[in-house]
């Protein structure tokens, strides 16, 4: 070691002026480079501060309705959740989301999470717990909370029925129709409806579908309820998510109002299936079933 030290000392002979100028420039450039790269990386904070990076996240995302920081921090941006989703609802955010780059999100209108995997595959796939494993069933999810944003546009509110493909012939989105295929979701465009009064948001709500299955099982053979729940890989949701309530406007037309209930998880299927353009019912990110019940 002492030999090394003497060697070091010998190397510390004064630099030639040219070398010194070179190393001065290298230092200056390095300083500018540091400021530049760090500055650019911190620009990623801007969309986050502006709230532009707030999105509908997959089930179990570590977040509160007002604050997604924990989710941003814990996600390793690998996209394994994207790969397991049977309806390919999950996308990864791009550079305009700043620090949110690579973070999974769901554009419900294009393709909502319909829980057709039953077992919350994205949660199971997550290697960092950013989609928390504390979650067991779809009904435990708190993604957001649905709201009838445009009641006047709502077909049921107008007392109108619906006939045809919910989102038109070109719509790519998939949903699970258990009576067609229990295991493979099919295009919504392949499943035309003929409804006397439009009830699509309630009819397709994954929570409501599950409740109906549980109820049928209960009336058929009450003792099999637990087994049915197990088979579905799903607990029977304790609360309704959305119901249709009669509205009387005194004109004799039978009108129904889609009413969001405390069991809504914010999966976005109602927003996806709503045949009105743009959707009469939407998912709000700033609340969830817990905050709604609390307030």
């Amino acid at each position: 070691m002492s030999e090394r030290k003497t060697a070091k000392k010998r190397n510390k002979r004064p630099l030639t002026p040219k070398r010194r100028e070179q190393s001065r420039r290298e230092f200056l450039r390095a300083t500018v480079l540091t400021a530049g790269v760090v500055g650019i990386s911190l620009l990623g904070f801007v969309p986050v501060m502006q709230g532009k990076a707030m999105r509908l996240r997959p089930p179990g995302a570590l977040k509160t309705p007002q604050d997604e920081q924990e989710f941003f921090a814990s996600c390793i941006k690998c996209g394994q959740c994207v790969q397991v989703c049977p309806v390919e609802a999950i996308k990864l955010a791009d550079l305009p989301d700043g620090f949110g780059i690579g973070l999974p999100y769901i554009d419900a209108r294009a393709q909502a999470c319909d829980f057709s995997c039953d077992g919350l595959q994205c949660v199971l796939a997550c290697p960092t717990g950013a989609l928390t494993h504390d979650l067991d069933y779809p009904a435990d999810t708190r993604m957001g909370f649905a709201r009838l944003a445009r009641p006047k546009a709502c077909l049921a509110m107008q007392g109108k029925g619906f006939k045809g493909q919910a989102r038109g012939a070109d719509y790519q989105g998939l949903l699970r129709y258990e009576e067609v295929d229990r295991w493979n979701p099919i295009p919504v465009a392949d499943y035309p409806y003929d409804l006397e009064i439009c009830d699509l948001c309630v009819r397709q709500c994954p929570i409501e579908i599950r409740i109906t299955q549980c109820e049928t099982a209960e009336t058929d053979k009450p003792q099999q309820l637990a087994r049915v729940a197990q088979q579905m890989g799903n607990e029977c949701p304790p609360k309704h998510a959305i119901t249709l309530e009669p509205v009387d406007q005194g004109d004799g037309i039978k009108r129904l109002r889609p009413t969001v209930q405390e069991g809504c998880v914010g999966c976005g299927v109602c927003e996806m299936i709503c045949p009105v353009e743009s959707a009469a019912i939407v998912v709000d990110l700033d609340k969830n079933a817990d905050t709604v019940m609390g307030g």
Binding site: T34, L42, T128
Partner: protein, 324 residues
């Protein structure tokens, strides 16, 4: 011990002290003295001609194929839904086993201040893997940005040769500064700040999940490298390189230098992305006849391919001895 010390010095941007005469073994001193006046330019040219290989030299070919196959495995796995290599380079599951990029995992751990078991498993797996395979081997053999950057480097070198542009160097210590800054930023802000600009993550995700606007940033980096500073991102910025440089300190896979036939002409340093690791090839730079290149080396094999005297070779420490 000296190998570990020299490696860490170079990874963090310091100069490895040149060995004094007393630190050199008598054998290597004899070699250096024996070469005085014996190395003619004509001899070197003859050697070079004899050694001249094709553009796709042995290790370059192997490396490019490996890099492309590894990245395509991710793509194909998702595209054909075969679940062989799920995820991307930041975090993956290989036939069900967790793998986590050490730098990404570090960012997450510092920002989240909490670490789940799956991530620990992924980190340990990747740590052991790269410890065995050479640490920065990740850079040259897996990282998609490395390959793009290597391609655009040809353009840079051509422009420099034509005297259209000049290469600008930076103080190498700046990479350690970046490493510390990005670790601190993750810890303080609670966001994985580096991931926002990491071309490795951006490119890996773009390949697997489809291109996006983030590719523009990768383009900016490449332009900077072409027109201003050769291989600037990998040389002066990327903390992933620092992470794997440290992991590789204990790796048995290294490039070995043998001073005996070396002409000290520096062909190896000209092709190297991290030429400081080859300073031992400068005359008087090695302290023994055989000495290993430090762990900041990406094991890309460019020097092995180009060396006209075959003085640089790949070795597997321990194994090579056993095979003898």
């Amino acid at each position: 011990m000296d190998y570990v010390k020299d490696s860490l010095l170079q990874v963090f941007g310091y100069k490895r002290p040149r060995p004094s005469k007393d630190q050199q073994s008598p054998e290597v001193r004899k070699i250096y003295e024996g070469k005085r006046g014996a190395l003619s330019k004509a001899d070197l040219e003859a050697l070079r001609d004899e050694h001249k290989g094709p553009f796709f030299s042995k290790w370059k070919k192997r490396r490019w194929i490996t890099l492309i196959i590894v990245n395509l495995l991710f793509v194909a796995s998702f595209y054909f839904d075969v679940q062989l290599v799920e995820g991307s380079l930041t975090g993956a599951r290989v036939i069900g086993f967790h793998f986590a990029d050490l730098n990404s995992a570090l960012q997450v751990a510092l920002a989240y201040k909490h670490i789940v078991l799956n991530l620990v498993i992924g980190m340990v797996t990747v740590f052991v893997m790269w410890m065995l395979l050479g640490g920065r081997t990740f850079c040259a053999w897996v990282c998609p940005y490395h390959l793009l950057s290597e391609w655009t480097e040809y353009l840079h070198l051509w422009l420099v040769e034509k005297k259209i542009i000049k290469n600008h160097t930076f103080s190498r210590k700046v990479r350690s500064v970046f490493y510390i800054i990005f670790a601190l930023l993750a810890l303080v802000t609670g966001y994985t700040v580096f991931e926002t600009i990491s071309p490795t993550g951006i490119l890996s995700r773009a390949l697997i999940y489809g291109p996006g606007i983030a590719l523009l940033w990768v383009g900016v980096l490449l332009l900077f490298e072409v027109f201003y500073s050769r291989r600037a991102w990998c040389r002066y910025v990327c903390p992933i390189g620092v992470t794997y440089g440290m992991v590789g300190v204990l790796s048995p896979i290294r490039v070995k230098y043998n001073a005996e036939a070396c002409h000290h002409e520096g062909d190896c340093r000209k092709v190297c992305m991290v030429p400081h690791v080859l300073d031992l090839t400068i005359r008087g730079g090695a302290s023994d006849v055989n000495q290993d290149v430090t762990s900041d080396c990406t094991r890309c094999g460019m020097c092995v391919d180009i060396c006209p005297t075959s003085s640089l070779t790949f070795e597997v420490k321990g194994l090579s001895k056993m095979l003898k």
